[in-house]
């Protein structure tokens, strides 16, 4: 990795170690102080153009930020992802673009109905939006024939096992619909986000493995460290090698389709095994490893499915396949 990226990685790592305690964030949310910190560091508006107060970083830098932050606080990484990978491309070059200034400075919280659970049409919306992550947002983009912006409302929280630092739930809304004049679709932004999603996955994998590797050398069973047992040593070593392969794919921007599919294939297994290594302790939140398994399962469930496998197949074959 080039020097400038290494420097960025070290900066984000140092910041995250010092400021991001996911256990506290999961129970108390991403408080104002943290938002101001990630905004002033330029992480919140990582990809947003500088004219809107963002850092206007390149893709590789953005992905490094997501990766390093999700090792420590997957919730904060998801918040950054929602703004930069989902909201920003939808309002880019439209009259809603000006909202980016407040969003990148942390004054305005934004979200996108990326689960696509609500079909909203017309000029006004008076009703309930279902299943929105980062639900306590001022501005939410919903989809009907095209994307529209609605104002936030009263959140009815639901239990969501992933990214617990962000509110998740239904929102009672009474708002005008501001139609966004763009040709960009939800499908487009999700496909363009493959490397960003894979970077969050890499962060989860790395965070979980760091904990498991450390624990395996400290914890003893039958008078020997766990790492002295073949199954533990072999499994963790295999998983670290897979993590390094994923890192190489992402660092060199080899192929976003491969990156997504590879990361999704190793994500749940790795975070699950990291929990396993911790035995009974891993099942408790205090050890900070079970959260990676929860978040990993959520990533796998909501950002990967048959439609992504169809895209991968089309990419590999070069034409439409697997359609019967």
């Amino acid at each position: 990795m080039e020097d400038e990226y290494e420097l960025l990685r070290d900066t984000v790592k140092e910041f995250s170690e010092k400021n991001l305690d996911e256990k506290r964030i999961e129970t108390g949310g991403i408080v104002e102080n943290i938002i101001q910190n990630i905004a002033s560091q330029g992480f919140l508006g990582a990809k947003i153009p500088s004219k809107f107060g963002g850092s206007e970083l390149d893709e590789k830098s953005y992905n490094i930020i997501l990766r390093e932050i999700s090792k420590y606080s997957p919730s904060v990484a998801m918040k950054i992802f929602i703004l930069n990978s989902l909201y920003y491309p939808l309002v880019k070059n439209t009259e809603m673009e000006s909202t980016l200034s407040d969003a990148s400075s942390g004054k305005m919280n934004v979200s996108v109905d990326f689960l696509n659970k609500n079909k909203i049409e017309g000029e006004k919306f008076n009703g309930t939006l279902n299943d929105i992550l980062n639900a306590d947002s001022n501005n939410i983009i919903v989809f009907g024939k095209g994307p529209s912006l609605v104002n936030g409302g009263t959140v009815m929280e639901k239990d969501f096992m992933g990214f617990r630092g962000l509110k998740f739930g239904d929102i009672k809304i009474e708002s005008e619909l501001q139609h966004i004049n763009t040709k960009v679709t939800l499908n487009d932004i999700l496909e363009d986000s493959y490397n960003a999603i894979s970077s969050i996955n890499l962060g989860l994998i790395s965070g979980a493995l760091d904990k498991a590797m450390e624990y395996s050398t400290i914890r003893k069973a039958f008078d020997s460290p766990l790492s002295s047992y073949e199954p533990v040593a072999f499994n963790l070593s295999r998983m670290v090698s897979q993590k390094n392969i994923l890192e190489t794919i992402l660092n060199n921007n080899i192929d976003s389709y491969y990156a997504l599919n590879f990361s999704m294939n190793i994500l749940v297994e790795t975070t699950r095994y990291a929990l396993n290594v911790h035995g009974g302790y891993g099942y408790f939140g205090d050890f900070g490893v079970e959260k990676f398994y929860r978040d990993a399962m959520v990533m796998r469930s909501i950002f990967y499915g048959n439609s992504d496998l169809k895209k991968l197949s089309g990419h590999v074959y070069g034409n439409k396949v697997g359609f019967i």
């Binding site: 689960l115 696509n116 659970k117 299943d131 639901k158 239990d159 969501f160 096992m161 998740f168 003893k220 069973a221 039958f222 008078d223 199954p231 749940v268 699950r272 929990l275 396993n276 035995g279 009974g280 891993g282 099942y283 408790f284 939140g285 205090d286 079970e290 398994y293 929860r294 399962m297 959520v298 796998r300 469930s301 909501i302 990967y304 499915g305 048959n306 496998l309 019967i324």
Partner: protein, 358 residues
């Protein structure tokens, strides 16, 4: 053995569906609260028939199919009772009747902070002093630990060359002076169950509190594991079936017919059927007093892994519809690969037993 109990299974399922509503399951899970009333009800109504182990297994399976947090809580009040039933004296056995009817709650203390898998390495010590034992040490991750009336405790009574020779089991009244239980919170799943850390500070025990013979504790607990692992396999089987119920419901409701999903449905159902056959087969030997440890461990490990696999598939297939009940199944499933012997420990048992046989 199990086919003959279809009416009993139906009765348990109806009870679980009636009592373990989504709202109730959610509430106990969120609050990390033990469902005393439900546990008592299931026992006092004779829902869990303690006289017939096959019925216990079916009750565990069917209750965990609806909700593992509540299901395990409702079937756990007699946890460790088998040690008393098999090896206890008459006085100790007397409490079993109250246990079976939900009046007295039991617990079992084996795991210690320094190690779960290495049972023979435990450090809790019961030192003989005249006609008494003085118990000191600590236990970790003890189910029912903070709510039990009595705890079956495995402790070291002598330093032998072979570590497992110096262990003994005791029945400890949790109201004894020097007994302290601290509830552990923030579990990933099965949050309705009570889990605690236990401290023994000069807890005084009489000779009558010794279960069976001194120095035989390791053997008693390994015998117990042959039984309890079957019940954990039952928990895991129930969780797997519950996950599959969700998958079927989602696929049918949304009229999903694509081949990739159909193959997933086939894989999950095949694994569950294999786990069921393994569990029932191992149980049929155990319930004839002829346990096969390798079969028991195969059933426990495979059913545990199937629970995790099925719950992950339920999450994947239902994907963008993050239903709370499916998330709860996912969170509950993982413990199946950990408690009563991790999958790694089960694999050691299986390979040693299989190779010993030749």
């Amino acid at each position: 053995m199990f086919d003959e109990l279809s009416d009993y299974r139906k009765k348990i399922r109806e009870f679980a569906l009636r009592e373990f509503t989504e709202e109730t399951s959610e509430r106990y899970d969120r609050n990390e609260e033990f469902p005393f009333e439900i546990a008592k009800k299931s026992l006092s109504l004779g829902m869990v028939d303690m006289e017939n182990p096959a019925k216990i297994l079916i009750a565990i399976e069917e209750m965990c199919r609806v909700d593992a947090g509540l299901g395990i809580s409702a079937t756990l009040p007699y946890f460790g009772g088998e040690v008393l039933f098999l090896f206890g004296n008459d006085k100790q056995k007397k409490i079993l009747n109250d246990v079976y009817h939900g009046k007295v709650m039991l617990s079992l203390g084996i795991t210690e902070p320094s190690g779960g898998s290495d049972v023979a390495g435990l450090k809790t010590f019961a030192k003989k002093s005249g006609n008494k034992y003085i118990l000191n040490g600590s236990k970790m991750f003890i189910s029912n630990g903070a709510i039990a009336d009595y705890m079956v405790v495995l402790a070291r009574t002598s330093e032998e060359e072979k570590r497992h020779h110096g262990l003994s089991t005791f029945l400890v009244n949790t109201k004894s002076r020097g007994f302290k239980a601290t509830k552990l919170e923030n579990k990933l799943g099965v949050r309705a169950t009570n889990t605690a850390e236990i401290e023994f500070n000069d807890v005084e025990l009489s000779e009558d509190d010794l279960i069976g013979e001194e120095g035989k504790g390791f053997y008693y607990i390994m015998t117990f594991f042959n039984i309890s692992r079957i019940y954990v396999a039952g928990q895991a089987l129930g969780i797997s079936e519950g996950a599959f119920d969700k998958i079927k419901g989602y696929v049918k409701t949304n009229n999903i017919t694509d081949e990739a999903t159909m193959f997933e449905v086939a894989d999950v159902s095949t694994r569950i059927e294999a786990a069921r056959q393994l569990t029932y087969n191992a149980a049929s030997y155990l319930f004839k007093y002829d346990p096969k440890p390798e079969l028991t461990s195969m059933a426990k490990a495979y059913a545990g892994e199937t629970a995790v696999y099925s719950s992950e598939k339920a999450m994947e297939i239902t994907g963008k519809s993050p239903d709370e009940s499916i998330q709860r199944i996912f969170r509950n499933a993982k413990i199946m690969e950990i408690w009563e012997g991790t999958s790694e420990v089960e694999k050691l048992v299986i390979s040693r037993q299989i190779l010993k046989g030749d």
